[in-house]
Amino acid sequence: MTLWWIGDIVLLIVVIPLAAYLLHRVFSAAKSIDPSVKEIAHVAEAGSKDLDAVPLLLTTQDQVRQTVAGVAGYGASLDVIVDDAEVAA
């Protein structure tokens, strides 16, 4: 009978508070994840909106091609028109 009471006391003083404490820690940790996930979702959404201009890169690519082609044509003309530098003796 004494052992029963000792077991009861251990259960009430040690096991139940420890279980409650650990469960509370798990619950708190799970609860703290939610705001972070929501924040990440907002950031991902904002990042996705920021990337709406990415298709314009195709226009930039085309314009760069045209510009470089123009520069190449102009350079080729200058190559014909302008004398080469004299080679230093």
Partner: protein, 201 residues
């Protein structure tokens, strides 16, 4: 049933109740997290979808720009020479010559000249382009001075004896005035009596 057994049962029930309450709470939180992660995955998927072509496009743009830089650097060095090219660059963008040209590593060691003092040929050449460019070949005023196929030879033909340092002397301007040795538009009545007009009667 003894008192100790009753206390034990109550304690176990309390533990089970605590487990149920907290675990249900954790389950609810995990479901919220799952919903939030679904939103994150949707956003990240959009980001992935939108950034997929970026790599190829930027790579292509960089290749084009690299080709442009190679072309311009090569042309500048070919036409102006490496030393004068560095002087030109430093004249336009002070301090830029220290970085050197990408395709000419030795350009970093060149002491860039002050281009305003030493560079005249290119400036004059560029100034002549307006009337000597090949595009003027179809000009209604006649063919261009330069032949684009023989550009250097035709330009040298402008000064076959070398470019003159100073203009040839021109005849002096004639002296004009009443004391000039040669009088222009000489009048016949100069030095003769003044003609009298007939009087009115």
């Amino acid at each position: 049933m003894s008192g100790a057994a009753v206390v034990m049962i109550v304690a176990v029930v309390l533990i089970v109740l605590a487990l149920v309450v907290y675990l249900v709470g954790v389950i609810l939180q995990l479901r919220k997290i799952t919903a939030g992660l679904d939103q994150v995955i949707a956003g990240v998927s959009q980001i992935l979808e939108k950034t997929r072509p970026v790599n190829d496009v930027v790579k292509d743009i960089n290749e084009q720009l690299d080709a442009g830089v190679d072309l311009l650097e090569g042309l500048l060095v070919k036409k102006a020479g490496l030393v004068d090219a560095m002087g030109l660059i430093d004249g336009l963008y002070p301090g830029a010559a220290a970085q050197g040209l990408r395709n000419f590593p030795e350009s970093k060691d060149i002491d860039a000249p002050r281009i305003g003092e030493v560079y005249t040929k290119g400036t004059l050449t560029l100034a002549r382009l307006g009337r000597e460019a090949p595009i003027a070949a179809a000009s209604p005023n006649g063919p261009a001075i330069r032949n684009p196929a023989y550009a250097t030879a035709s330009s040298r033909r402008l000064y076959p004896g070398g470019r003159p340092l100073e203009p040839e002397p021109l005849p002096r301007s004639p002296v004009i005035g009443t004391d000039a040795p040669v009088q222009y538009e000489q009048r016949e009545d100069i030095g003769k009596p003044r003609k009298r007009m007939p009087s009115k009667s």
